[in-house]
C-alpha cells in the first residue's frame, strides 16, 4: 500500500498550492488517491462512501496545508488528517451490525473450500473488524493497512507504541473470540492469497 513517492514532490506541490496555484493540488491527489480511498474503504466497506470520505479528507488537507511544515513525512501528515475525517464520518453512521453466518462460511473442511468460500471468509473477517469499538478498530485497521509498521501507526494515531501494542492485542483477542464463537477459528484456510 505504501507509495514510496519522493517527499520533495509533495513538498513542492504544497508550496505551489500555498503560493496560490490551486491546480498544483492535483499532483497530491493523484499520488495519494489510492491510499486514501483504500483506507476509507477499510472503515466502511462501501465504495461510494469511501470515495466521499477520501474526498472530504483531501479537502481538509487542502485547507490545512499551511500547517504542514515537513516535521513528519507527508504521508503521515495526510493519513492523520484522513483518519480524523474518517473517524467523524464513521461516527455519524449507525453502528455496524454484522452477523456471521457460520453455515455459509464454514464449508466442509479446508480441502473442500472453494476459492469463493475462502474469499467470503476473508471478507467476513475484515468486516468483523468494523464491529470492534473504535479504540481497537482504528489501530487494527491502520496497523495492517500500514503493513504492520508500528511506529508510523502510532504517530498517525497519536499514541505511544506501548499503548498501540496493547490495543492491537485486545482488538485481536476480541476478534478471535467472535471467530471462535462462530466456529471460524480455523482461519488458515480462509486466506485468499
Amino acid at each position: 500500500m505504501r507509495d514510496g513517492r519522493p517527499a520533495d514532490e509533495d513538498a513542492g506541490d504544497a508550496r505551489r498550492v500555498l503560493a496560490g496555484d490551486v491546480a498544483a493540488f492535483d499532483g497530491i491527489v493523484r499520488r495519494w488517491q489510492g491510499r486514501l480511498v483504500n483506507l476509507a474503504w477499510r472503515f466502511c466497506r462501501d465504495r461510494m462512501m469511501a470515495e466521499d470520505m477520501a474526498q472530504d479528507a483531501f479537502v481538509r488537507a487542502f485547507r490545512a496545508l499551511h500547517t504542514y511544515h515537513g516535521e513528519a513525512a507527508f504521508s503521515t501528515w495526510l493519513t492523520a488528517i484522513a483518519m480524523n475525517t474518517y473517524r467523524t464520518a464513521v461516527r455519524e453512521r449507525p453502528p455496524v451490525a454484522f452477523d456471521l453466518d457460520p453455515a455459509r462460511l464454514r464449508g466442509e473442511g479446508p480441502d473442500a473450500l472453494t476459492g469463493m468460500e475462502r474469499r467470503e471468509r476473508s471478507a467476513a473477517v475484515r468486516r468483523l473488524v468494523l464491529t470492534l469499538p473504535a479504540r481497537y478498530r482504528e489501530p487494527m485497521v491502520l496497523y495492517y493497512f500500514e503493513e504492520m509498521n508500528l511506529a508510523e501507526t502510532a504517530t498517525i494515531l497519536g499514541l505511544r507504541e506501548g499503548t498501540l501494542k496493547a490495543r492491537l492485542h485486545r482488538g485481536r483477542d476480541l476478534l478471535r473470540r467472535q471467530l471462535i464463537a462462530a466456529g471460524l477459528s480455523d482461519l488458515e484456510s480462509a486466506t485468499d492469497e
Binding site: G34, A54, P95, A97, M148
Partner: protein
Amino acid sequence: MSERDDIGRILVSEEPLVPSSGFAARVLEAVEEAAAEPPPLPFPWGRFTLAVIATFVSVTSGLWLLLRMDLSPVVAALTGVWPELGYAAAMILVTLAMLYAPRLRVAARRRTLLRGAAPWSAPRARRRA
C-alpha cells in the same frame, strides 16, 4: 501458522481498491470550491480581551461594593421570609428535575441500544442463541 498470524495475513492481504476514473477530477473540483470560499473570520481577540477585562472589573467592583455595604437589613428581611424562599427554591429544583430526567433516561436508553449493537456487549444468552 497461528490463528493470530492468520488474522493479520487476512487483513494485510486485501486486494487494493482502484479509485473510480473521475475521482481525482471530483476532488479537484471540491478543492477549487473550497479555495473560492472566503477565508474564515478571524477570532475577535481584541473584543474578547476587552470583554474579559470588563467582566473582571464588574465582578471585582460588585464584590467590593457588596462587602462595603451594611447587609444586616437585607439579611433581616430575608430571614423573615425564609420559608417562602425555601419553597421557591424547592419548586425550582423539582421543575428542573422534571425537565431533565426524561432526557437523561432517553440518553441512557440510546447508549444501551448502541452498546447492544456490538456483538460482545450483547447479553450472554442472546449471544449464544
